[in-house]
Subunit: 337 residues, 4 copies
Amino acid sequence: MIIVLKPGTSDEERENIVIRIEEAGLSPHVLMGKERVVIAVIGDERALQQQTLSAIPGVEKALPILSPYKLVSREFKKENTVIDVDGVKIGGNKIVMMAGPCSVETKDLLSGIAGEIKAGGATVLRGGAFKPRTSPYSFQGLGEEGLEFLAEAKKQTGLPIITEVMDPRDMPMMMKYADIIQIGARNMQNFRLLAEVGAHNKPVMLKRGLSATIKEFLLSAEYIMSAGNDQVMLCERGIRTFETATRNTLDLSAVPVLKQLTHLPVIIDPSHAVGKTPLIPSMAKAAVAAGADGLMIEVHSNPAEAFCDGDQAMLPNDFKSLVSELKRIAVAVDRDI
Amino acid sequence: MIIVLKPGTSDEERENIVIRIEEAGLSPHVLMGKERVVIAVIGDERALQQQTLSAIPGVEKALPILSPYKLVSREFKKENTVIDVDGVKIGGNKIVMMAGPCSVETKDLLSGIAGEIKAGGATVLRGGAFKPRTSPYSFQGLGEEGLEFLAEAKKQTGLPIITEVMDPRDMPMMMKYADIIQIGARNMQNFRLLAEVGAHNKPVMLKRGLSATIKEFLLSAEYIMSAGNDQVMLCERGIRTFETATRNTLDLSAVPVLKQLTHLPVIIDPSHAVGKTPLIPSMAKAAVAAGADGLMIEVHSNPAEAFCDGDQAMLPNDFKSLVSELKRIAVAVDRDI
Amino acid sequence: MIIVLKPGTSDEERENIVIRIEEAGLSPHVLMGKERVVIAVIGDERALQQQTLSAIPGVEKALPILSPYKLVSREFKKENTVIDVDGVKIGGNKIVMMAGPCSVETKDLLSGIAGEIKAGGATVLRGGAFKPRTSPYSFQGLGEEGLEFLAEAKKQTGLPIITEVMDPRDMPMMMKYADIIQIGARNMQNFRLLAEVGAHNKPVMLKRGLSATIKEFLLSAEYIMSAGNDQVMLCERGIRTFETATRNTLDLSAVPVLKQLTHLPVIIDPSHAVGKTPLIPSMAKAAVAAGADGLMIEVHSNPAEAFCDGDQAMLPNDFKSLVSELKRIAVAVDRDI
Amino acid sequence: MIIVLKPGTSDEERENIVIRIEEAGLSPHVLMGKERVVIAVIGDERALQQQTLSAIPGVEKALPILSPYKLVSREFKKENTVIDVDGVKIGGNKIVMMAGPCSVETKDLLSGIAGEIKAGGATVLRGGAFKPRTSPYSFQGLGEEGLEFLAEAKKQTGLPIITEVMDPRDMPMMMKYADIIQIGARNMQNFRLLAEVGAHNKPVMLKRGLSATIKEFLLSAEYIMSAGNDQVMLCERGIRTFETATRNTLDLSAVPVLKQLTHLPVIIDPSHAVGKTPLIPSMAKAAVAAGADGLMIEVHSNPAEAFCDGDQAMLPNDFKSLVSELKRIAVAVDRDI
């Protein structure tokens, strides 16, 4: 921690800051510069990060040196975390393909899509039974019935299930049906939900919030890990910017940034990021080339009749073609799909 | 709804779109332009807004004409909504001053602050017992004990209480202690929480999400109102932008925009918006001049020792001076504090 | 300057960094922390700010302590700069009202508007002869003829003229006609234009770029001042965010932030910020309450026929009413219009 | 163009709008909906796009149907534009590799780097002689001497030169030395510079502004093309967002979006986008996979001593390795480097 003092700070104020640092069990080093006095703090600054140093009289700003997260960091754990979901390894050399409809609609439709995406190369089935919709008048998901349809599709295809939880009260139900629990972008800082999911022993995919920084994203993952669950994967799905040509802006540089900072697997959801079917293949390819550990892609056999997000759903056949193209790129970056 | 067709769309595709509109009970009017064919749809387009028209073959884009929200809109209810909280009217000519510490810390400290802000001109006491913190290692609030301290402060000062709910499971506790339930910015699209709060009969203050558009903000309010609770006030507290000189960017133009679109009261929280105490008075004054119905301001008697957000807390005396300055501006815009 | 070393940096690498700092004439202080080694640099760090310290092997990051600008800073000059434009003082207690059409259209129309805004309370006439338009097919301004019309309007009303320069080659023409030269938002980082304007002795109003940080804004002002021209005023006119309910987002907190950091006058342009006439009065009032030194407002006698930006033009009568309301707020903040 | 009327608009106001449309030579179709009256306009709406329809009494909003640009659009010219720069084809199947230092520093250094990048696989040499720097105290480039060094490096290596123009007055000099003229991000809406470059017969690379939408980007390209120069290539180099983990946020989805909308070649500059050397390879690979027609990458033989942007410079050897990896990905998407 570096504490920069305001110009004209009195000796008494400075002494006061020094005492406060010492009280926190850390060592202050006062450096008298020409234009500013700076106090460098030696010791575990995380104790101080929780305090409001900048509200102390005489302090201009406090600059932290260390990252505020620990368990998720690459410094804490050097090797990549690999999560095993019913035999599907996520975070290893093989890139995982998650696919399926935005929301679960009918049993037959879901089973049909599940069969087709499996044939097309998917190894995890996605589908929402609880849907976070911007408008209260939009389709909100089938609820537990949707989870049952997912279970049925799993029985038929063997594909493990990823589905979203929106409410801590639904966790018992989720534990019964889901193989991976998804925390959606809008709930990335629903801290009670993070804590609840962290208290269960089940893989979690945490989606980045629409306007979450990488640091906040990792701190939300830290909530889950610090509650006891270390099977966490991260999903970039587009951030909110000024651009309206796409639904969101896919921040693909999050892949190498996260790979530096954390040992957790990184998944890319190009469907939500761009929001328009014709743009998805290009971004899916880019994600594989950039080093993503997996993709999550929306597939629907009849997008124009989809209950939600038909704009961004691929047809099963187009998904199949895409996967074969992705395999070539995976090989070119020494990976596998 | 206006549907723009792609250039080169076939007669069959066009006919198909027309049939789909008619099936939804609406009337299509086909207009053959030079460069594009456009279909204007007459009728209640909200039926179509839930569908994925742009996924139908031949459709380039679908432009909605009407806003997707209804109950919150000024068209639905012309006169301003005024909410009565224990005799404090919010949304009328008198501007409400909510103040207090970021989080409830100790009983004595809270009661002390409550007494001081009352003397300084506040009419509602704020204080968090459940705190949404970016880091799991930060102070998370006292929980129910904090609510008890708020109740005690209320008993001593008579000030009604506004406090934040983070979890639908806490609603019974909230109903017992809170006079206004706050939904924080990070939970603006926690739709299950909105529905839960909507199902209770208690005033709600909904804070705008960090990257929520005005339209999304109003749709979240619509969630609460459509669930049965019409005592909703809206709070702008800064949005996330590229600028780092302030904690967030206060979007003060949200005041006149919301006043046009909705009948609900509009509160401004300058403390969270700017995040630095010296900047707050200027923004508080601006908010009153812009037409806000109330302010929410963080006050702490010892900011440097605050458990959270000491950076943006005003001293009680400074708050008192500010209120007397605000009164002059209120008079200049024909209002009252 | 604080230099944070990567974990595991070798002694040799560290020594290398120390030597480099000493070579720049500064004093390094090496602090061996538990998790990181930090080097605090004593001396004028601006020498180092131009170097790429973070590209030196072993450096994790370099944190500057001082601001990179000097002449524009409040530390360099404590008292407010007051600019005298033909007797109109900008930056003093009296708030300046600049008004007029977006672009100069015809001589008669301009003279008519000039007369009306003068009667309504304006003390500076705005009008563009060279217009930066997003599309090449939009009206680009009358050029020198427009400047002549401005001169004519000035002759009739006595109002000094503010008009925009887009090209360094036009400076001789500008010197002839303009009393204040405006640098538009799109040219805030047109550094050659800044240098050219800096080399002339004429007041300048620099508009903040659509996505410029406050720091970059001040550095652009520093370009003008360091070239020799100290008659610079700053204008906030809305920044680009994700919100589309307004044309841009007015960052009104820029007023108190700039007042802390710089001695230069701060003007607010609510017209471009919100882009919709009905929203302008509210933001104009807020700007006065926030502490702005002046306003720039678009006024047109026939907005629906305006060659540009009719959406955001006020009628002369509405402008007059607004000024009388603003006067009341000015009084409430101990200022004058 | 679709014109939506306000609720409660009078017959006279509506008639007035109809007349105005007819006067512009277009055909209005009035559609009386339940909640709104809508007027669909048949004819070339570009005539109306320049007018301020929304300022006409009774108009709520005007929704354009057509894009405001023409010459740059894929509808205007279906086949890809391929630009020939001294035999290097840009926009064809072969992906172009532009590389070199941020700024030209010394003759020997430049020639050395040029030789190395050529050996590493580059076909165009980049280097700035005029540098747009945020601070007036940063190195501003060598000016014409820098251009001479570029000419020397070209003579030695045969690599054509891309270099930035900042001032219309420098165009004669640029015509003498440059093979591709670069318009930097900060000058994307320097409309006078665009017009000047458009009036010359020389390939241009236009960089996207930090906060420019795709639509604005294409309109700036339209400025150049409408002035007579059709040898325009577009370069995405990162946009400004709230994220600070990278210098800017690379909007890679701009590649498929631009490929849909325009026939012009699309180049990606990962160096400026991410601003940190270790992140560049990942984004370069992603760009090739996404379908970019070329890359621009900063290479310097001694980044820690670079006059600018050493943070984001690759070593020549690392560049060489990267190109060999990119070649594999190019093959996987049926292209060539």
